[in-house]
Symmetry: C3
Subunit: 340 residues, 3 copies
């Protein structure tokens, strides 16, 4: 069991300093790892634990290798190398095959023999489930939906009708894909529901966190492209597009018809208004509000950090009269200028 | 199949310019529509696509009709007319009737013969389900709850005991109605649970977005009145009242015992503190925080839009010393005044 | 039925002024209570209803007893006393025992005979369910998880593999415990999933609101200690620790590896960045953003209250040029000073 360090270093593309035949069987933090355990150093915050570690080997960058009391595997990207190593030493739960007798399967479905449909799942008519798909239990897959190879759905996931999900997606519990968008027309003070007739289309290698919701398009589709990663409790409205390899952290809400580029990093708790265009390679930091399109790459912020409450209140008070005060001060500044 | 434009114009109350016998069978955007397809122009943002559209007919206001290369149906409210037309051309999935054998039904329930109880649903004792109600699957309806005519519940919806839901509601997947409110009494640093003994009462024609939660009252009820529309991931605390025809956009949280008037528009990501009174016809824009009652109609804001990160940081720095600075500047302004 | 006031006062530790043999059978607000009903006054906001109440008895503090037209039970902490009294007069729904035939039970599980596994529940292999546990229905309990005495799970709760939940927890519908943390390593612009190998461990007497999510640790565990109370739609990321008796209000998100002390009060809609340390007895008010560790107790804020929209816009405009303006004003202030 486990892996010899020599083989491990080779498989993750690193340089081993140490005994290639020494075996590691599992993974742990620098502080907690012991004999036979592999650890890593990626975040400089944890460098202080390096010299005291009792791990059998540590994945790290060359600059820190000298401080490590044990075998090292040096790499250029320790966190990515760690991800690969951890997957080798702690593989995900094995796949199952077949249809649990407690599942409810509609007519005219195509379910690959290597897929697993867990207990209490409901598969409506005309659904296509590809090879190796894993539905853990109590999932609902609406009529006409398609789920690609090796995609995994946690419990209590809802996929509404006509949704398309690509290959190798990981969809955590409680996610809702394809609920109606919030489309309402006002008539004499009452709201009329606008039928939501589009779909949700999700690319390959997407991950979606627990209780996140992605609404179907009104006309046309809501698009989540390849490699996108969404954290928990994210809200994606109708007809949004999220470009390839963009990440969206928890509790963020993106309003309807907004188009987000590729390789963006949208921080936690962010709000983005509707009908905007956000360029590729844009970073928006935590709890910011985006009210206009962002035409080029860069980092954008409006999250206000806490202060001690009394100081905060005083500053808020000043803020609320800021427009007036600056007008006065500009005037007095001019006068002062004159007196020079 | 489809509808003749003459009949369509009549049913949505518009003026047809074009061949009344021409038929449309489906709907699409201005850019994508082709022969036999109906489109619309409501948001001026999309006017640029009008002159090039290949739709068979377009719903729009009279002022834009001249720019349209094809048949037009002019109306005073294109978005509302579109909602009606889309419903005629793309009717919602048909209703089903009966109780799926995989559902679990308690004792003393009254379930109308025209209702549908989908697979894996759990109906506890003493529940009343009215005519035409549709429970799509895996719904939980707690004891003593009542659901009104034609109301539709998506998969994985939970309705806790003694809840009352009106007619024609649309409740999307993952919604939780009637969970306990967050009622806690502090005693010597520990928190004691305060029993939550009220109900949730929801009026007619309400729509509730995916994964939204509405807590039951502590004493007395949480009220969501007729025609209210809640988006995804909204949080309504115990004993809140939401007045008729108010809309609440995604990720908004409303704290306990707050009373919100009718015809309000509460933007996405808003927070409203507890025990407040918000008047009718109040608009609160995205990511605002309401800390005091709002006695009259109007638009209220505190969402701060993003800036480029470095500029933002500089401004935040200034903000944090704002109280102090303005004090000094006021003083120097006075001195400057004296020197005039 | 009901309780005599004399016995009630004794059981909640209060002083009765009134007939000890008078019986109350239920509870209501000051405005709505009538004969045979108990009410209370804790929030001064409701003092105005005291003199007109028709309750048979009121729990309150000594200072208000003189204004009450009916029997009083005076206590030092009326809200806590009320919680106890309400529990006596309106006890929670009785417990059930056994396993519903519609549940799916894995192998090698230990399910106490006094526990209740409701319909459509899925219990994977190697799960331990202690005495008196109540799973209401459609819950998913992943392999190897353990649930302590008397803990109650509402419908549609997901507990992922290897999670540990203590005694007397109350977990509301739609909660997800143990989903993967948002661990991603960037390699050449693509994101690689970092395996999430830790657990979620939850102490005793914890309450978790509807649709809240708590992610499993990456390495090591996510910890929610004894007596913690989480409201609805809270997001707790991987490897967070929440100290004993801390409360977290709705829609708050706490990022990875942040350590929150005991007896904190984290207001609704708050965001807390990752890898921070928050001391004991810290209060963070609504919609604040915490970007740095907080080393000592106190109240911290950055939630900006709404203004009328036009005034807000003017102030935001001033804010955005604040850095520049203050620089100029400082200079002109100096000049003004010189001219004195």
């Amino acid at each position: 069991m486990g892996l010899a360090l020599g083989e491990l270093a080779q498989r993750i593309g690193g340089q081993l300093q140490g005994d290639p035949d020494c075996r590691v069987t599992t993974v742990a933090t620098l502080q907690e790892a012991g004999e036979g355990e592999l650890s890593f150093l990626a975040n400089p915050r944890y460098r202080k634990y390096l010299h005291g570690t009792r791990a059998s080997a540590v994945i790290l960058s060359a600059e820190h290798a000298g401080d490590c009391p044990t075998a090292t595997i040096t790499v250029t990207n320790p966190y990515a190398a760690w991800a690969r190593a951890a997957r080798l030493l702690a593989p995900p739960a094995g796949s199952r095959q077949g249809v649990h007798p407690g599942a409810t399967i509609g007519s005219n479905c195509s379910i690959d023999a290597t897929a697993w449909i867990g207990p209490q799942c409901i598969i409506e008519d005309d659904v296509t489930i590809a090879a190796g798909v894993q539905l853990q239990g109590s999932c609902f897959i609406g009529r006409g939906s398609r789920i690609g190879d090796e995609t995994r759905l946690g419990p209590q996931v809802t996929v509404c009708y006509a949704s398309v999900i690509g290959a190798r997606a990981v969809i955590h519990p409680g996610v809702v894909i394809g609920g109606d968008g919030f489309g309402l027309a006002n008539e004499d003070g009452h709201w009329i529901k606008v039928p939501q007739l589009g779909r949700v289309c999700i690319g390959d290698d997407v991950e979606i966190g627990a209780n996140t919701t992605i609404d179907r398009g009104a006309l046309g589709d809501t698009l989540v492209e390849d490699g996108v990663k969404l954290d928990n409790q994210v809200h994606i409205a109708h007809n949004v597009r999220i470009g390839r390899h963009t990440v969206v952290a928890g509790c963020t809400g993106i309003s309807g018809s907004t188009d987000i580029g590729s390789h963006c990093r949208i921080g936690g708790g962010v709000g983005i208004l509707g009908h905007l265009e956000i360029a590729d390679h844009v970073t928006v930091t935590a709890m910011s509000l985006v009210t206009k399109s962002i035409p080029g790459p860069g980092m954008y912020s409006s999250g206000m950090p806490v202060q001690e409450h009394t100081a905060w209140n005083r500053n808020v008070g000043s803020f609320r009269e800021l427009g007036e005060l600056l007008k006065k001060l500009r005037r007095s500044g001019k006068h002062a200028g004159k007196s020079d």
